[in-house]
Symmetry: C2
Subunit: 384 residues, 2 copies
């Protein structure tokens, strides 16, 4: 049906009506006092969301632009960096670091499996001359639904003492606890079309004091993505370049909603939706691509063996107006991904799972017990 | 009055209600067939607007990001480049080119005066060894309301034969004729919050075949702002990174409106509004900062001698709900700027001029004939 689509991809995520309506307001001048007030509130709420007293800067970019800024402002050409790669986004950061002339050491894991934290420990403990300048980790690997063990990897980075940890939190921020200051994370990048519940177009970079220290000796040429002008402007509740005023109106509304819900409730909700989705898939005999102990709370990837993943997506879209994501690169056609990130409630999961059950029946998948998926999901939701 | 503000700054410009409502639609997946159709239409209409058969690429950036992409993809470190500087934006491109290690030669003109095309001719004709690789020109200098003579400067660039012309058309695109293919302009950068009639958040870069030839030897490290992935993706009606879906919904609506109005009508309207504004200011004894033969059709800067520019802005805002822009850098407090770019009609100019007249009366400015400003504006509008 027209205008009836339910977005269950891992971004863009569903946007609350109140946010959409905020964005439909006429723009105001970005150098006005009224806009400064909006910036002030957003900056304060962004710090709350990021659990940090340090800077959270707002860029007119996608999440990829934010991650590039997070690298080139704090690392140098020739710097030895470890990049965890177990999916498409980790791969992208490795290529990006290479493009900027860093000496990149890829720490691979199979797509669908979490990064082995022990490899990071060995490399970091073995680096007696402190040559490793950065560790780049994708927290929630959107392409596979794997949540990497950021807390443990970060402990080894802290024990190393010298190098920075640069985190792709694009689909984990607002979906799982990332206490930036408590853990001492240095650079955390994210994008608006994910846990923030607003459309794409804004990138965010949180930067620690240690990162700013590294900035002083960072020499990669940069201008639009140079973070210092953003930091200086943010201190005056403004921006160095014209910001996307209407998206920021949306951000203000969305952050207020998040604040009202509270961080713990937000994280618990994502946990609950993930558990319900996974329980349902198991009951329906649908193999999950990521293991239980490394499950992203943003997206669940399913690797069906007795039905074509693309056919599932097709029926879900055509008959139930639900958009699921497919696999990327070599996973194309092998998995489908169900997003449960941001503005998603329990009812949405029940609707999606019951539609999935019906889809499997339409496709003539054998051996499933009708109602078993929704029963499993409902049990999780009822008990949590 | 709340929600009654009339934006007369040179960006963000007023946004049509239909565009605002397009942006308030729920986002759809950026990798979906439905979104590809939107991209296809936008790309086609962007080429129409730019009067080019070559590429017009869409980036999630401000206009500054688009201009950076326009430089670093086609020029190299050490390249000799001429940068015209007669205002804040020209100055920015000079600093940016320097940041990326280019050998920058600034061609200055007084702020408020147009660039001297003869200096470009001399430099380019004198460059027998073809060392000049780029000429960077701000077409409409937003900070002063001066329209530089792009056509003439470009003729000297064409006569030189080797170097590229890189144009900041941020406030001229859609406000004055820029026949990109006919003139053979190489790189033309712009931003959404100007003639496009949509909020900020999208940058555009038009690139000629000659520019793509230069791309092959361009070595400045870049990733998010590397234009080749945008070109390749655009050919498939998609984007390399998540695009600002809702802004692109707005863009689609705005470009349809522009197509319906027609390029000639759009340019004639901007010409008419500019002429009316300038005639009114002259009648009111308000000195215009830019000369008549170099007047931007996007913004008119006024340098009042018998009243404080900031007081004028204050009364216009407080009593008439009209936002004017102030002066930047050393022009702060010395000029005010009245935007008439994008979604602005004849009635808006009459409202603004009559409010300005009333403002001058409130401020006790002597020697003005009440009604003379609006009479002069009305005459222009009635006769054109």
């Amino acid at each position: 049906m027209e205008n009836k689509q339910m977005l269950m991809i891992p971004g863009p995520t569903p946007v609350p009506e109140s946010v959409l309506l905020s964005m439909a307001k006429s723009p105001i001048g970005h150098r006005s006092g009224d806009f400064s007030k909006v910036m002030e509130e957003c900056t304060s709420l962004l710090k709350w969301l990021h659990q940090t007293e340090s800077d959270v800067l707002m860029l007119t970019t996608s999440g990829t632009g934010a991650m590039e800024a997070g690298m080139i402002n704090f690392l140098n050409q020739g710097d030895r960096v470890l990049v965890g790669v177990n999916g498409k986004f980790g791969e992208r950061w490795g290529e990006m670091a290479q493009m900027f002339g860093m000496e990149v050491e890829i720490i691979n894991a199979e797509w669908g499996k979490p990064l082995d934290t022990e490899v990071f420990r060995e490399k970091l403990e073995g680096d007696k001359n402190k040559e490793i300048k950065g560790v780049i980790v994708t927290h929630s690997e959107t392409s596979t639904g794997v949540l990497n063990d950021l807390e443990t990897i970060n402990k080894y980075v802290k024990a190393h003492g010298e190098c920075l940890i640069i985190v792709d939190a694009v689909t984990s921020l607002g979906a799982v606890n990332i206490p930036i200051d408590e853990w001492g994370l240095d650079v955390v990048g994210s994008g608006s079309q994910k846990g923030y519940m607003i459309p794409p177009g804004l990138g965010f970079v949180a930067c620690s004091k240690k990162a700013w220290k590294a900035y002083e000796t960072a020499k990669i040429p940069r201008s639009y993505l140079d973070l210092m002008p953003y930091k200086k402007s943010a201190a005056k509740n403004t921006t160095p370049f014209t910001p996307p005023v209407n998206l920021i109106f949306g951000l203000q509304t969305a952050l207020r909603m998040m604040k009202a819900e509270g961080l713990e409730s937000i994280f618990a909700r994502h946990q609950r939706l993930t558990a319900a989705t996974r329980a349902a898939c198991k009951s329906l005999g649908l193999p999950l691509f990521a293991p239980d102990d490394a499950a992203s709370t943003a997206v669940t990837a399913v690797a069906p063996t007795n039905v074509d993943a693309e056919e599932v997506r097709g029926v879900m879209k055509k008959h139930f107006d639900i958009a699921l994501a497919g696999g990327q690169d070599h996973l194309t056609g092998k998995i489908f991904r169900m997003g449960h990130l941001g503005f998603v409630c329990d009812r949405d999961i029940l609707a999606a799972i019951s539609s999935l059950e019906c889809t499997l029946q339409k496709l003539g998948v054998e051996g499933i017990t009708p109602g078993s998926g929704i029963a499993a999901a409902a049990k999780v939701l009822a008990e949590s």
